[in-house]
C-alpha cells in the first residue's frame, strides 16, 4: 500500500464523502417523516390508509434497495417516469428507510403503556392530542435505539448508490480501482471514511441503548 497514492486520492474521496453524507441526511430525514406518518396511521388504525401503509411497509422491507433503485432509475423511465440519479437515490432510501422507521416508531408507540393512553383519554384528550402529548414523546424515547440502528443501516445502504452512478464513496472507490488499479489504497480509504461517519454513531447507539434500558427498567 502506498501512502503517496492515499494522499493523492484524499481530495476526490473528500468530495465523495460529502455526497454520501448529504444524501444520507436527506434519506434519513425523509425516512423519519415517512416513518412517523405511516406509524401513526397504523397506530390509530386509520381505515384504508392503514391497509396502504401495511402494503407499503411490507413491499419495501422485503426487497433489496439495489433492486428498488434499479427499478426506479432504469426501469421506470421505460414506462415514462424519470427522475435524476440523486433524486432516485434519495427516494429509494426514503422509501426503504421509511418502512424500517415506521416499524421502529410503531414498536415505540406500542410500547407506550395502554394505561398511559387510557389515562390521556380519561382526561379528555383527542387522538391528535394523544399523539402529540402522550404517544410521540413517550414512544420515541423507547424507539430511539431502533431509530439509531436504522440510521447506521441507511448510511451503509448509500454504498449501493454506486449502481446508479452517483459518485458517492463506494462508487468513487470502485472507480479509482477501475482506472488506476489502486485497489488496496482505495478500499482502505473507503473503510476509514465509513468508519469516520459510523463509529461515532455506533458509540452513540450503544449509549442510547444503555440509557433507554435504564429509563425503562429504572436501573
Amino acid at each position: 500500500m502506498s501512502w503517496i497514492v492515499i494522499q493523492q486520492s484524499i481530495p476526490i474521496f473528500a468530495k465523495a464523502f460529502w455526497i454520501t453524507l448529504r444524501l444520507s441526511l436527506y434519506g434519513i430525514i425523509g425516512s423519519i417523516i415517512v416513518g412517523i406518518i405511516v406509524s401513526l396511521i397504523s397506530y390509530f388504525k386509520v381505515p384504508v390508509a392503514k391497509r396502504i401503509g401495511y402494503i407499503y411497509i411490507e413491499l419495501f422491507r422485503n426487497t433489496p434497495l439495489l433492486i428498488q433503485l434499479f427499478f426506479i432509475y432504469y426501469a421506470l423511465p421505460e414506462v415514462g417516469f424519470k427522475i435524476s440519479a440523486e433524486v432516485s437515490g434519495v427516494v429509494g432510501l426514503t422509501l426503504l428507510g421509511g418502512s424500517y422507521m415506521a416499524e421502529a416508531f410503531l414498536g415505540g408507540f406500542n410500547g407506550v403503556e395502554k394505561i398511559q393512553v387510557e389515562n390521556g383519554k380519561a382526561i379528555g384528550l383527542s387522538n391528535a392530542q394523544l399523539a402529540r402529548y402522550v404517544i410521540l414523546p413517550q414512544g420515541i424515547l423507547t424507539s430511539i435505539p431502533a431509530i439509531a440502528a436504522n440510521v447506521i443501516f441507511l448510511i451503509k445502504e448509500t454504498s449501493i448508490f454506486t449502481v446508479i452512478a452517483i459518485p458517492e464513496l463506494t462508487n468513487t472507490a470502485l472507480d479509482q480501482i477501475g482506472m488506476y488499479y489502486h485497489t488496496d489504497e482505495s478500499l482502505f480509504i473507503l473503510v476509514i471514511a465509513y468508519a469516520i461517519i459510523l463509529i461515532p454513531l455506533s458509540i452513540l447507539l450503544t449509549w442510547l441503548e444503555r440509557r433507554t434500558r435504564r429509563v425503562a427498567f429504572g436501573n
Binding site: L59, T63, P64, Y74, A75, K156, L187, Y194, I199
Partner: protein, 229 residues
C-alpha cells in the same frame, strides 16, 4: 412492437435461468445464515462473560462488520485477501463467508442483548436452588432469552437474503447478474426489458422475504401474548 414485454421471460430458457440465479442467491444466503447463527450464538454467549479482553475483541469484531458496508466486505474478501494472504476462494465461497461472518457479528449482538434481558430475579432463583453457572445458562438463561431473540433473528435473516443482491458486484451468477445478461441479450426484441426483468426480480425477492416478515410478526405477537399472561 408485436411483443408484449412480459414475453421476455418466455424466450429460450430465460425464466428458468432467472430462477436458477435466485437459487444461487438463496443457497449462499441459506448456508451463511446457518453458519452465522451458530457462530453468533457462541460469540453472543462469550460477550456476556466477565473477561474484558474477550468482550473487547468481540466488540471490535462486531463493530467492524456493522460499520463496513457489505459491498466493501465483498471486495475486501474477494480481491484483497487472496492477493495479500495467498488464499484463493471462489466467489460463491467468499460470498458465503462474508455473509456468515456478518450474520455472526449481528447475531452475537442479538444473543447478548437477549441474554442480559433475562430478569435478574430469574438467575437469582436459579442460584438459590443451587444451579452452577453452566446449568444456569443451559436451563434458565438460554431458553428464556431464545424467545426474545427469535423475531430479531428472523429480521436479520431477511436482511441477509436481501443483501445477496450485491453478489452481482463480485463474479457470482446471481439472479441480478442473470437478469442483466437477459436484458442485454434480448434488447433487440424487448426495448423495455429492464422494466420487466427488474420488476420480476423485485417480486421474486419479495416472495422470498415476505413469509419471513409474517413469521417474525407472528412470533412477536405470540411472545407478547405470553408476556401478558
Amino acid at each position: 412492437m408485436s411483443h408484449s414485454g412480459i414475453n421476455i421471460f418466455f424466450e429460450g430458457s430465460n425464466f428458468v435461468r432467472l430462477l436458477h440465479g435466485l437459487l444461487v442467491s438463496a443457497e449462499i444466503a441459506f448456508v451463511a445464515i446457518i453458519l452465522g447463527a451458530i457462530l453468533g450464538i457462541i460469540l453472543g454467549a462469550l460477550r456476556t462473560t466477565k473477561s474484558r479482553i474477550v468482550r473487547f475483541i468481540l466488540r471490535i469484531y462486531l463493530e467492524f462488520f456493522r460499520i463496513v458496508p457489505t459491498v466493501v466486505l465483498l471486495f475486501l474478501f474477494y480481491y484483497i485477501l487472496p492477493k495479500n494472504f495467498n488464499l484463493n476462494l471462489s466467489a460463491e465461497v467468499v460470498a458465503t463467508l462474508v455473509f456468515a461472518l456478518w450474520m455472526a457479528a449481528e447475531m452475537s449482538d442479538i444473543v447478548r442483548s437477549g441474554l442480559i434481558s433475562v430478569p435478574k430475579h430469574q438467575t437469582d432463583a436459579g442460584k438459590a436452588i443451587g444451579l452452577n453457572p453452566v446449568q444456569l445458562f443451559r436451563y434458565i438463561t438460554l431458553p428464556q432469552s431464545l424467545k426474545l431473540m427469535i423475531p430479531a433473528t428472523i429480521n436479520l435473516t431477511s436482511r441477509v437474503i436481501k443483501t445477496t443482491s450485491l453478489l452481482l458486484l463480485i463474479s457470482v451468477m446471481d439472479v441480478i447478474n442473470v437478469g442483466q445478461q437477459i436484458i442485454e441479450a434480448n434488447q433487440q426484441q424487448y426495448q423495455n426489458g429492464a422494466f420487466w426483468v427488474y420488476g420480476l426480480i423485485f417480486i421474486l425477492y419479495f416472495i422470498l422475504c415476505y413469509p419471513l416478515s409474517l413469521w417474525e410478526k407472528h412470533m412477536a405477537r405470540k411472545e407478547a401474548a405470553i408476556q401478558n399472561g
